[in-house]
Every structure is written in structure tokens, then in C-alpha cells.
């Protein structure tokens, strides 16, 4: 009997229109996936504050996956462009926060791409397992994480 | 015709073996018949290519391994080029031929004898010695063939009477030797 504790903590932030739908499509097609991932539904990838991700890591998440609509397909026209800009900046900051960038993935999956979703989950889960559980972060790292808030001076600078 | 007992005659291990060795997904075949339609050798086959595919899907090991078609197939790749499901049918035919040979089937004796003669020549000389291959084939098959061609070819300088070994002859022979050893392992 496998140990349920063997699942790592992977948190997914998915936009409601594309990727959440893609995950549903994968479900409807019964495309088997590892069980580690738990999904937080948000209206748009543009709603995702990098701080959510930093806090998730601080809270002990072993991996964080963000998935939104393909670049030109955003339900809200341009929310995913905002997301991309913020998250790319965030990705560059990860090492400074003491977080292996391999634990974070930002990708696009549309509502019809059930198979792609299955692949993304399988690949990312394997990647996180290869890295093992997340070492505990210090409060100072989190303070540094606050710097990656889009309203902080870095953005646009 | 007897009733084909699908419950007991379906050898799924065989299906898995062919799938693994060929790297092809056999369930993709939906029996459109394109391979049969395009194959230049269908006229000489006992099982058309699409029937080989179907029998294979049903794990009909004996029927597939003992058929002549898998030996006659010339790997012309017409089937693979046109299969709407991107199945490399020619590769499957090749794998079946290899398994069939391994397991001692040879419904097309002369084709096998010719292949053996050819490879023996390569092993001995490093390159094919055409006349030697022919002589060896005649010896194996006890069939005199193409006696009309010899003089024509000779007259035009297309045939050498003596083999010329390459320097790396031993290296080539060792390839064969190591291959045989790997089979024994």
C-alpha cells in the first residue's frame, strides 16, 4: 500500500477559462495523472500575485505550477500578458529567495488540451520529485519575496 | 473454415513483443486497407498486409509467423509512407520476419537461403562477392537459376570470378561473431 504521505505538496494556480477547463477535459477523458497536485482556481492568470507563490513556498509547498490561457487566447484579452511579465520577473528572483527555480513552472494550457495538461502535470510532478521535499525557508527569504511584488520598485524599472 | 476461438487463441504477449520491438502502436490500425492497396507484392502474399495487421492485433501468433508475406515483403515502405495512422507497417513486417527467423519458421525457404548466402559472403570477404553468393545459394537451394544471365554479365565485365577481400575483413567477421554471441546470451 503506497504511503499517501509520499505525495509531495504541489500547488497549481489555474485560470478558470483555459487551464482549469483543460484539467477538466483531462478528467473527462480519464487521463491518469499523479495525485500530488492541488488546484486553486482563479479567474485569470493575471489575478495571480507572485506573492501567493512565494508564500506557498514558504508554507512548505514543494512545487508551484501556474497555468493560463495561450498568449492570444486570454478570456480577458490581456490578463495573461500581465501574468507573464510578472511571473518571468519572479522566476528570475527565485534563486535569490533560496528556491530552486525547478520547483516553479509557468505554462499555457487551453480548455481543449486535456492531453497537454496530463503531460504538464506528469512532467512537472516528476521534476519536483527529482528535487525532493522543499527545504524550509527563513522569514528573511520571505521578506525578500515581498520585493517581487509587482508594485515594488523592480517592476518597470 | 473452423471457428476462431478468440478467448483462447489470442496471444497478447506476442502482440506486446511485436509492439515493443517495432516501436509501433498496433491498436492504431483501423483496417483501412491502404497498406494492402499500395503494396506491390500483395499479388504474391498469402495474407495481405492489412490482414497481417489484423491477425497481429488478435494475437494470432502462428498464423502471422508462418505466413509467406512477411518474408516476401521487400521493405519498399509504400505502406509506411501512406498509412493514415503513421504506422510503420514495413518495420512491423521486418520485426515479424526477424522473429519468424529466430523461431525457425521459413515458409519462403529460398528467400532465407539467399539472405544467408549473401550475409555469409559479407562475413567472409567484407564485401559481397556476387558470384560467390550465387554459388552458395545454388548449393543451399540445390536449384540452378539464372544460368542465362552469367554469360551476359560476364561479357559486359559485370561479374568478377574471384573474391577480393578488404583489409578490414576480420573486423566485419567480428561484427557477425559478436552478434551471434549476443544472441546466445
Amino acid at each position: 500500500m503506497p504511503d499517501p504521505a509520499a505525495d509531495l505538496r504541489i500547488i497549481g494556480f489555474l485560470c478558470n477559462w483555459c487551464s482549469y477547463g483543460g484539467a477538466d477535459t483531462a478528467g473527462v477523458a480519464r487521463l491518469a495523472q499523479p495525485t500530488d497536485l492541488r488546484i486553486v482556481r482563479v479567474p485569470c492568470s493575471g489575478r495571480i500575485d507572485p506573492l501567493f507563490i512565494a508564500k506557498a513556498f514558504y508554507g512548505g509547498a514543494d512545487g508551484v505550477l501556474v497555468s493560463g490561457c495561450h498568449p492570444r487566447d486570454c478570456h480577458y484579452s490581456e490578463g495573461n500578458y500581465h501574468a507573464r511579465r510578472r511571473l518571468e520577473l519572479f522566476l528570475r528572483l527565485l534563486p535569490a529567495l533560496g528556491i530552486d527555480p525547478g520547483r516553479f513552472l509557468y505554462t499555457w494550457v487551453s480548455a481543449s488540451e486535456g492531453q497537454r495538461w496530463q503531460q504538464v502535470v506528469a512532467d512537472f510532478t516528476a521534476r519536483v520529485h527529482a528535487l525532493g521535499p522543499m527545504p524550509r525557508l527563513r522569514e528573511t527569504d520571505l521578506a525578500a519575496a515581498a520585493l517581487c511584488h509587482p508594485a515594488a520598485p523592480q517592476e518597470g524599472a | 473454415m473452423t471457428v476462431l476461438d478468440l478467448t483462447h487463441s489470442c496471444d497478447m504477449q506476442f502482440v506486446a513483443e511485436v509492439a515493443r520491438e517495432s516501436g509501433q502502436n498496433l491498436t492504431l490500425c483501423y483496417q483501412c486497407g491502404n497498406c494492402t492497396a499500395g503494396c506491390p507484392f500483395t499479388f504474391a502474399y498469402d495474407l495481405p498486409a492489412s490482414s497481417v495487421m489484423r491477425a497481429l492485433q488478435w494475437g494470432q501468433r502462428e498464423a502471422v509467423l508462418s505466413c509467406r508475406s512477411i518474408w516476401i515483403c521487400a521493405t519498399c515502405k509504400t505502406c509506411s509512407t501512406r498509412c493514415p495512422n503513421n504506422i510503420d507497417v514495413a518495420r512491423i513486417m521486418e520485426v515479424l520476419r526477424q522473429i519468424s527467423r529466430r523461431e525457425g519458421y521459413a515458409p519462403e525457404k529460398q528467400i532465407k537461403q539467399f539472405q544467408d548466402s549473401f550475409l555469409q559472403s559479407v562475413m567472409r570477404h567484407g564485401r559481397v562477392f556476387e558470384l560467390g553468393t550465387m554459388m552458395s545459394f545454388i548449393a543451399r537451394s540445390r536449384r540452378l537459376t539464372d544460368m542465362d544471365l552469367g554469360p551476359k554479365a560476364l561479357a559486359r565485365g559485370k561479374l568478377f570470378l574471384r573474391a577480393r577481400d578488404i583489409r578490414g575483413r576480420d573486423e566485419v567477421e567480428r561484427i557477425f561473431r559478436r552478434y551471434r554471441e549476443s544472441l546466445e546470451k
Binding site: 500500500m1 503506497p2 505538496r9 500547488i11 477559462w17 482549469y20 477547463g21 484539467a23 477538466d24 478528467g27 480519464r30 487521463l31 491518469a32 495523472q33 495525485t35 492541488r38 488546484i39 482563479v42 479567474p43 485569470c44 493575471g46 489575478r47 495571480i48 500575485d49 506573492l51 501567493f52 508564500k55 506557498a56 514558504y58 508554507g59 512548505g60 487566447d73 486570454c74 478570456h75 480577458y76 484579452s77 490578463g79 500581465h82 510578472r86 487551453s110 481543449s112 488540451e113 522569514e139 515581498a146 508594485a151 515594488a152 | 483501423y30 483496417q31 483501412c32 486497407g33 491502404n34 494492402t36 492497396a37 499500395g38 499479388f43 495481405p48 492489412s50 501512406r82 493514415p84 495512422n85
Partner: protein
């Protein structure tokens, strides 16, 4: 707060791989949970009644249902909790079917995951607040994009229902593919006799504004109030003057323009009216082929036009239309068989497409309804049809079935026998798909009464032999390689997405599937809706469809629009952003990032500038929330607190409150 949790079995859909009772048991230990139970079919009537009863009995303030995707039943259960007397937003769903039971194989792990998802939902619900939608007025006009049979039907149904309709058609006439057809299955009645009068109705209906030779350039706004820019391409003919007399066409010396209406069977003039029944029946100049426009030397049409309609200086214009809903009916495109080199790939003149054959059969087509070989104009004695060309073929990236080609092939084979008595017809097929009413009988008639010879197998190649063509295929039922000598070969080409579908989808902010067809909201429950409120689908733009299915869907889409407009107002989604005036410092970063212009600058009584969200304009994307340095603007129902509560519910370590 007192919360109730209901864990659904969905029959065995969930219960087979999730221990639902264990999830409910675990939920009972979660904070504020006053009641938790498992339930066999939560969305069924007894399932919903159990929720209503539990709310009353246990005095619940909110409900979590752990079941299928919220995309499936969130609305259903919001109505349920409303019936129980709660605010519909005091409800959360945990998706333990699509995201757990259907994708995980290990029951123990699935159960742990389902429990986590319930914990997340509970933590979020603890922070939910009642929300109330606002009413806003709608523009009771509808835009129909595409004037094929589906668009025509949708436009007429909407207009007959009392709505104003704007119909935008890319070509110079409405009618779509159906206008090109000779006769239609399964009745074999004349296509233009059926469609023609409907097209005239469109032209004459006072409620319909037709923009032909036009395209949708951009769309802004939202359900109830869209603003659409329609680009009217330059026709070089003033349509208000053109009477469609056709004098110009007769005299035009440029005779090598492409003629899409005749599927390339014959060339057209540079100035053209596509067919006699065109609506509108107006001339259009093809600027790439007109001698006047390319070389400046001609001007014949301007000289002969009795109405002085020709205008070589015309440029495109844009008109703006305000509408409350949009129906997409842009249809499909036919597969180009040139990629099949083995079928001649365009090299053999007597290998034609089904649409070319349709034009050949049509009395108004270039051959006047005579079946003649393009190569030598001879009547064929033997016609071979090949099905599934460009369909059900992964090799060329078209794995899907085009749905209508089996049927139209049977139709064309039958018509061949009518047009060329004594001609022999063959059909190579893999499967025959004829599930409609009277459809299979139709196929049988082709075989039994008309003697069409069906061969079960794909064709591998076609090659010329003398002036005939040899079609080499297989009859898999005989396990034989077969060949047929043909005078004419007709390729039953499949359907692919309409050109420009990707761009239109991006403009309308709706999704398309992997093959470029528009995505419906739900394949069973919302087949004519999209996931964008106020945008509907009709006809083959959603996937290959024959005429009966296209028309049904068009009427369904029209009914949806009529339903949407039934009351003069719509309720706005209350999941919108809200500015906390106490925290806002008036930097207006949010105003700059909002993609919908939903944020206004407001001067408060204290004179300070602050941001304010216009509730009916805000689409609830949440982009502004991440931008605000003060955390002053929050998306209701998706606040920072709520999202972080979900994250925290998953974490081993409590989250600090920094940032």
C-alpha cells in the same frame, strides 16, 4: 459561522476511487463545519433537497459541495443554496471528480487529495461574503457573423422574434456552401429552391441589416453591450447604384480571376456577381485581376455600367454597431487535397473535389449541369468516389470525421446516375456514417436502387492509363487488392475550420479547439453557448455539421439570444473588483492596467483622488488587484485573503502575514 459539507459519490464516478464517507468524516473536524455528509447524487432532486433541509435543520451559513467541476454544476448549486435561503455566493465547490477520482488511480491518495480540496473550499468559504448582482440595461440587437445557412437561419429567427439583427458576411453574397450545392440529401431537393427564398427573406426583413463583403474588425464591451467595428471592404462598385444587371461582367476583358463560388472549375471575370440568386446581387471588382486597378488601362466596366456605379477609387470603410449578443456562424472550409500526392495532388485534371463536382451537377454551374471531364469535356462512363479524403487521417493532422461526406457522396453517386444514365459509379469507403433520420435508408437506396458499387477500403493511389485513371485500392472485406478504371474521380474532401477562425476567436475572446473549430461551453449542456457570456455558436463553425444540424443549432442559438433579451435588463456578475477607499492612495496604477477600462478616477468629498470600479463594466479578471501597491483593490469572491486561505489550507506551516 456554521458550514455544511456534502461529498458526492456521483454514483460510482467518484466513490469508486475516493472514500467519500472518509472525506465527510474528515470534514467534520474542519473549523466551522457544523454538518458533513456524503450523498449519492448531490445534483439530483433528493440530493439538492438534502442540502436545503440541512441548511434549515443545522442553521448553516454556507455550503461546500465536493463533487464535479464547478464549470459543470456551480450554477445549479448556487440556485440550491438560494432556495435554502442563503446568499448564492455562500457556496463553494471542491472538484473531486474531474481533478481527483477520474485522474488518480490510488484510492488512498485520492481520498487524501479530496480531503485537501474540501479543506481548501471550507477555508475559502469561511471568508466568503454575500454578494448581490446588479441589473443593467441591454442593447436588444444581435450580431450574426457569417451568412451561410446557419447564419441565415439564426438571423431570421432572431428578427422574427423581434430583435434587430446585424448580419456580417465576408463574401459578396450570403448563402455559404449551401448556395453552391446542387441538390441536398436526404431529400434530394434543389438546394437553391430551399435556400433561395430564405436568402430573399434576409434581404427583405426590416429587422435585418446586412453587411456583405465585410468582416468584424474588433469587438469591445461585454454581454448586453458590445461595440463591434465592421470593416466594409472596397468593392469598387457603389452598391447603392448597382442594380446587378451584369452588363459589366459580360464586357470585362480580364477573364482569369479565380472563382471560389465555382470551386475553381472555371475562371471568373475581374468584375463579378458570384451567382444569379446572390443576395445582395451586386458586382465586385477583384483588384488583383482588374486591368484598370493593376495597370490603369481599361475602364470598360465604368463605360458600360448603365447606373454609373463603378468607383475605382473606393476604399474600405468601418461602421460601428452596438449589439447585446453575438452569434458566430462562420462555417467551415474544404480540405485542399493537394497534399495527397498519391491521388495526383492537383496534377490530374480528372481528379476533382466533391465541391467541384457539386458545381458540375448544378444547372447554374459552369457546365450547365452536365457531367463532363475537365480534361477533354467527355461524359464519363465510370465515376469513382473516394471518401475520407483529408478526414480520419492522423498522417496529415486531421484525425476527425467530417460527418457529412458519406452522405453527400451517396447523393452525388445517385445524381451521377440521373445525369449520366448508364454510368457506373464506385465508392471507396472505410465506414459509412449515416445516423440521421432517413439517412441509412438513403445509403441503401444508392446501393440497391442505383447500383452504386461500394468498396470497403482506402485508396492507395491513382495513376493515369491512357486517357483513363486507374484507382488502386483494397477491398478489405475480400482481403484483396482491387483496382477500378475511372473516367472521373471525385474526392470526398473533409471539412476544416474556416479561414481566419483563430483571429475571430481572439477578437471575440472565445476559445477554439485543437482543430480550429469554435469551442462550445459544454458538449452536452451548453452546445450552442461559448464560455464568453453573450457569444453563441451556430452551424459548422463549431464542428463539421450537415444542413439539418446547422439549422437546428442556429435556431437554438437564436432561442438563447431571445431568452437572454427576454427581460430588458441583465444581472451583472457580482464577482467584481472593489476599492477600499481607506487604503487607496490614488496612484491610479489600477486604472492603467485594467483591460476593460472599468476603473474611474473619483474625487472624494475630502478632495483626494481615488480609484473607483464601475461594477457593470468590470469583468472580474483581477489584474488590478495584483497591481495595486496598497492591496486596496480586491476582487470580490477572489480576495487575497481567500486565495491565501486556500494556499494555507494546503501547507504544513502557517503563513506569515507579510507583504
Amino acid at each position: 459561522m456554521r458550514l455544511g459539507v456534502f461529498v458526492c459519490h456521483c454514483g460510482s464516478n467518484i466513490a469508486a476511487t475516493v472514500d467519500c464517507a472518509a472525506v465527510a468524516l474528515a470534514a467534520r473536524a474542519m473549523p466551522d463545519v457544523a454538518f458533513a455528509a456524503d450523498s449519492v447524487y448531490t445534483c439530483s432532486e433528493p440530493g439538492q433537497e438534502a442540502i436545503v433541509a440541512a441548511v434549515a435543520e443545522h442553521g448553516l451559513d454556507g455550503v461546500v459541495v465536493a463533487s464535479c467541476s464547478p464549470r459543470m454544476h456551480e450554477r445549479t448549486f448556487r440556485r440550491t443554496v438560494a432556495r435554502a435561503g442563503l446568499n448564492p455566493y455562500m457556496f463553494e465547490m471542491a472538484n473531486i471528480r474531474e481533478h481527483v477520482s477520474w485522474v488518480g488511480r490510488d484510492k488512498e491518495r485520492n481520498t487524501a487529495k479530496a480531503t485537501d480540496l474540501v479543506r481548501m473550499a471550507v477555508e475559502k468559504l469561511r471568508r466568503n461574503r454575500p454578494l448581490t448582482p446588479r441589473e443593467f440595461p441591454v442593447t436588444r440587437r444581435v450580431l450574426v457573423v457569417g451568412g451561410g445557412v446557419a447564419g441565415i437561419q439564426a438571423a431570421l429567427d432572431c428578427a422574427d422574434g423581434g430583435l434587430e439583427v446585424v448580419l456580417v458576411e465576408r463574401a459578396s453574397s450570403i448563402g455559404g456552401k449551401m448556395a453552391q450545392l446542387d441538390k441536398t440529401f436526404p431529400t434530394v431537393d434543389c438546394s437553391s429552391c430551399v435556400l433561395g427564398p430564405r436568402m430573399v427573406d434576409v434581404a427583405q426583413h426590416p429587422g435585418i441589416t446586412l453587411h456583405a463583403y465585410s468582416e468584424v474588425a474588433s469587438v469591445s464591451g461585454w454581454v448586453g453591450n458590445f461595440e463591434v467595428a465592421v470593416r466594409r471592404k472596397a468593392t469598387y462598385v457603389d452598391w447603392s447604384k448597382c442594380t446587378g444587371c451584369g452588363e459589366c461582367v459580360k464586357k470585362c476583358p480580364a477573364r482569369d480571376a479565380p472563382d471560389p463560388f465555382n470551386a475553381g472549375l472555371a475562371p471568373a471575370r475581374a468584375i463579378n456577381i458570384p451567382f444569379p440568386q446572390a443576395i445582395p446581387k451586386k458586382a465586385v471588382i477583384n483588384p488583383a485581376h482588374c486591368k484598370q486597378l493593376t495597370t490603369g488601362k481599361c475602364g470598360v466596366c465604368a463605360k458600360v455600367c448603365p447606373s454609373g456605379a463603378i468607383d475605382y477609387a473606393m476604399t474600405e470603410t468601418t461602421v460601428t454597431e452596438k449589439v447585446g449578443a453575438i452569434i458566430v456562424a462562420t462555417g467551415y472550409e474544404l480540405f485542399d487535397p493537394k497534399v495527397y500526392g498519391q491521388y495526383g495532388g492537383g496534377r490530374y485534371p480528372d481528379v476533382i473535389t466533391s465541391m467541384q463536382y457539386e458545381r458540375m451537377l448544378s444547372a447554374s454551374g459552369p457546365t450547365g449541369g452536365h457531367v463532363l471531364r475537365p480534361s477533354d469535356g467527355r461524359e464519363p462512363r465510370s465515376v469513382v468516389f473516394i471518401q475520407c479524403v483529408g478526414s480520419r487521417d492522423r498522417h496529415i493532422g486531421r484525425p476527425y470525421c467530417s460527418g457529412f461526406c458519406c452522405m453527400y457522396t451517396a447523393k452525388q453517386a445517385i445524381l451521377t446516375r440521373d445525369h449520366v444514365p448508364g454510368a457506373q459509379t464506385y465508392v471507396f469507403y472505410m465506414d459509412i456514417r449515416s445516423p440521421g433520420k432517413g439517412y441509412d435508408e438513403f445509403i441503401r437506396r444508392a446501393m440497391e436502387e442505383y447500383g452504386v458499387r461500394y468498396v470497403r477500403g482506402r485508396v492507395s493511389r491513382i495513376f493515369p492509363k491512357g486517357d483513363r485513371l486507374v484507382v488502386r485500392g483494397a477491398d478489405t472485406l475480400m482481403a484483396a487488392q482491387v483496382q477500378v478504371e475511372a473516367d472521373l474521380v471525385v474526392l470526398a474532401v473533409g471539412a476544416e475550420h474556416a479561414p481566419g477562425a483563430h483571429e475571430l476567436a481572439a477578437t471575440l475572446r472565445v476559445s477554439i479547439d485543437e482543430h480550429g473549430f469554435f469551442m462550445e461551453g459544454h458538449p452536452k449542456l451548453r452546445p450552442v453557448e461559448t464560455n464568453t457570456a453573450g457569444v453563441y455558436l451556430a452551424g459548422a463553425c463549431q464542428g463539421p455539421k450537415d444542413i439539418p444540424a446547422s439549422v437546428s443549432q442556429a435556431s437554438a442559438a437564436a432561442a438563447k439570444v431571445l431568452g437572454l433579451f427576454a427581460r430588458g435588463t441583465l444581472a451583472s456578475d457580482p464577482q467584481v473588483a472593489l476599492v477600499d477607499p481607506r487604503r487607496c492612495v490614488g496612484c491610479l496604477k489600477c486604472l492603467k492596467t485594467c483591460p476593460f477600462g472599468a476603473i474611474r478616477e473619483e474625487q472624494g468629498r475630502d478632495g483626494a483622488v481615488r480609484a473607483q470600479v464601475v461594477e457593470t463594466v468590470c469583468q472580474g479578471c483581477g489584474v488590478c488587484c495584483v497591481t495595486c501597491p496598497q492591496g486596496a483593490v480586491q476582487l470580490q469572491h477572489f480576495t487575497d485573503d481567500q486565495i491565501l486561505a486556500e494556499v494555507e489550507a494546503l501547507c504544513r506551516i502557517p503563513l506569515p502575514t507579510c507583504g
